[in-house]
Symmetry: C2
């Protein structure tokens, strides 16, 4: 090589990274491209870079910036909207070598972690120190904190603790040109200029690559009170939610709704779960309070449930009397594997105002059933947060069928000011429907941000923002 030669990108990367940290060929193909459910094949990227430090991430991005190389960032690759599926012309930047819990600080109630740490390892480190990390979701063993931050992950306890955005005290991210933006502050309050970390939370890696974060730790609850309630109608559900909020106050930690169809699925063999309450009620609510006064919280919780029974809001109920009881109730909620019985199916994640839930769910169900009378619409969700999940199966079908199902779920949301993505993000999958939730001015402002921070459009290009119509 003479001084006049420009080294290729891979040559440059091989000077930044150890040989085992730069994968090519079959080693790339052996890796997952996306979460199993989306059905994608192995990773197709031109290479996978696995930096071990923020400095290496910055050097990789600088090199890519110089050579106009698009980059797709990988955390745990558990996203549900195909954001991680890289093409053969894209480099995958994986954070899977940066998994360290760097510091756990009980006094400041904060932990500093690398972006590749799994959610479960973060939860465990907090627990070991006598605290809890507030976000929890099914993919905890694989999903990473960097991915949680990039997608503003939600999960089961949002009603109490908020989403991932609320857990981030400090953040370090690398911009498209390799600039490191590092604010690893542990402070709850910092109004010294713009709060730049907000740029990297929930923007799905399109504005920067999250490398490290300072996360809040909360007081570890010492009491868990859980019940499953059968409800006669939506109006009762709204009133039960109000009672739970008023009587359980800030301890209310979950208000998960299982529609009749979901409950039937997870309490009918071959599902392992026994029905703790009769099947056939329209709605079931799994309600949980997490408190810090173990000897008093149980009474407060049972009083609240009794009050709902007395008021005629609850048709039947079962209160967990042991941690095994509690686990059995949660196992019903979490037994999404039963959805395989309606395969092939697609899952959906939307949110809308509570008052419109009944009408909306009925509209979606009617629209699916009118076209596919044997179709399945299985409904469940974090309804305390206005968040509904559907699993919809109508038998085998090509892209046209998928499109028709998506339209049935997403289009009515526009009438209610709902969101086509409550917690899963946009990726590439939901782009065609983003306009139902965000108007042209909002999408244009997103583009302005993207253009300002990543003018060469190199970071997760084509994700989140749909292509401009006028460019075809």
């Amino acid at each position: 090589m003479t001084l006049l030669d420009t080294p290729t990108l891979l040559e440059t990367l091989s000077r930044i990274l150890r040989p085992e940290d730069l994968l090519q060929g079959d080693a790339v193909r052996a890796r997952s491209a996306a979460w199993g459910w989306t059905g994608a094949d192995g990773c197709q990227a031109l290479a996978v870079a696995r930096p071990r430090t923020t400095e290496q991430v910055a050097a990789v991005l600088r090199a890519c910036h110089e050579q106009d190389q698009p980059v797709v960032t990988h955390g745990g690759v558990t996203g549900l909207v195909k954001g991680s599926v890289a093409s053969t012309s894209e480099l995958v930047l994986s954070l899977d070598r940066m998994t360290e819990i760097e510091e756990v600080d009980p006094l400041e109630r904060a932990m500093t972690v690398q972006a590749g740490a799994t959610l479960e390892s973060v939860q465990q480190a907090a627990r070991t120190a006598g605290f809890c990390y507030a976000v929890d979701l099914g993919a905890r063993g694989q999903c990473t904190i960097g991915g949680n931050i990039a997608t503003n992950a939600g999960g089961n306890n949002v009603i109490r603790w908020g989403m991932t955005r609320q857990q981030v005290l400090g953040l370090e991210a690398v911009l498209a040109d390799g600039t490191v933006i590092s604010d690893l502050s542990t402070m709850l309050k910092n109004n010294a200029g713009y709060d730049l970390k907000q740029l990297f939370i929930g923007t799905e890696g399109t504005l920067g690559v999250v490398t490290r974060a300072v996360l809040r730790m909360h007081t570890l609850p010492t009491s868990f009170n859980t019940a499953l309630l059968a409800l006669p109608d939506y109006a009762s559900m709204h009133r039960v939610l109000r009672v739970a909020q008023q009587r359980l106050g800030a301890d209310l930690a979950a208000f998960e709704v299982l529609w009749d169809d979901f409950y039937r699925l997870v309490t009918t063999p071959p599902a392992q779960g026994q029905p703790p309450l009769d099947q056939g009620f329209p709605l079931y609510v799994l309600v949980e309070a997490q408190g810090t006064s173990a000897d008093r919280d149980g009474e407060i919780f049972r009083d609240a449930i009794l009050h709902c029974m007395d008021e005629g809001l609850v048709a039947d109920s079962v209160v967990a009397m042991s941690s095994n009881d509690r686990q059995r109730l949660w196992d019903l909620r979490d037994d999404v594997e039963q959805l395989a019985r309606i395969a092939p199916f697609r899952t959906f994640d939307v949110s809308l105002p509570l008052r419109s839930t009944e009408e909306y769910v009925e509209r979606v169900t009617r629209r699916i059933r009118s076209r596919w009378p044997e179709g399945h619409v299985v409904t469940f969700g974090h309804l305390g947060d206005g968040n509904i999940h559907f699993a919809i199966g109508v038998g085998e079908g090509g892209p046209k069928i998928v499109e028709a199902i998506e339209a049935a779920v997403y289009e009515p949301l526009a009438d209610y000011g709902g969101s086509v993505s409550a917690e899963h993000g946009v990726g590439t999958e939901k782009q065609p429907y983003l306009h139902l939730t965000r108007d042209a001015a909002q999408i244009e402002l997103m583009r302005t941000l993207k253009g300002a921070l990543d003018p060469k459009n190199l970071l997760n290009p084509g994700r989140v923002l749909p292509p401009r119509l006028d460019r075809g």
Copy 2:
């Protein structure tokens, strides 16, 4: 006027606004330019525009954009960092005609309000509906929700509810060119693309003008348990905080620290307050829990205090036994008017990690006293959030003296990763010190954002971001 004439800005504005909504001359001078303490004279702006609708705000900004007219937005003009002081070449855009509480929605636990509504009116509307609005601060009667949002206001209950950022569900703002970005959603969860409202929260009106907001309402507490504790040292304070967090859990609503000097000031005549505990302890903590189980919360609270006493963490304590008792304790904390006794003085608002508080406060105090042996350093703060306020008086002095005091407070923060602004913002006053908290890359990224959203630099120009050094 012929078709070739360009109307002046004021001519254009007079077509958009009613005559009484466009102030000029003495009517401008009669208005406040900034909060009394900052000592500024009346408003010097070239005119004051007082639109009544979002459409009028947009039309005014569009007109200003066409004519390169800088605009300074006014809410309640209670800021403490001189962001509202307009020059004779700047137009003031006041939101004081847009004060409506448009909707209070108990089911969604959300209220939609115009930006000019005062904090107090918002609190009152929430209470009337049986809820609470979570942010509270001394200026509640004058400060507006738009200003609270633009500055991400904090206050007394951040330890429980978070700052203003955490209260905003939906937001409407107008960009510099008049584009309206409207997302008046009531939903807790919405990951459909970038969360644009974050751009307008805490950016002090430099990226857009907030016109309306959807705010969260929380469960109205039914129990208030309050105590004042005298503490022997910082280590005890940290342990008391830990006990409070563990035993009061999510009900812990305030952990306000009064240093000896502050306590002495508010409990010595001419102050009205009697000392409920002896003067002379190094630190006093006002701790409060707000709960929803009135008949049980008192016992939990008193048990927690007793536990601290038993552990030797608390030298003396008084627990409020009535709402009058409670009010008397809060009156001590809120009696900042006693600071007039050390006038002239300057107030400061900083944050830093808890573990460094003792060393930092001692350094600041030593630095002031070494130069002004008779100087006063009065210290208090929301220490549960790491937030300290100082009032410092050294007698009369010119700009050089002010600069020396500021340096004494701000410079040591760099050693602890502290912030030169916990909750008051930057305005123009803290710009010289922003670099102590934000490095060059962060400040450059703030400039990138400002340039992208307001390329003509018309919205609150010169606020937040210090002038570039290389441009003099």
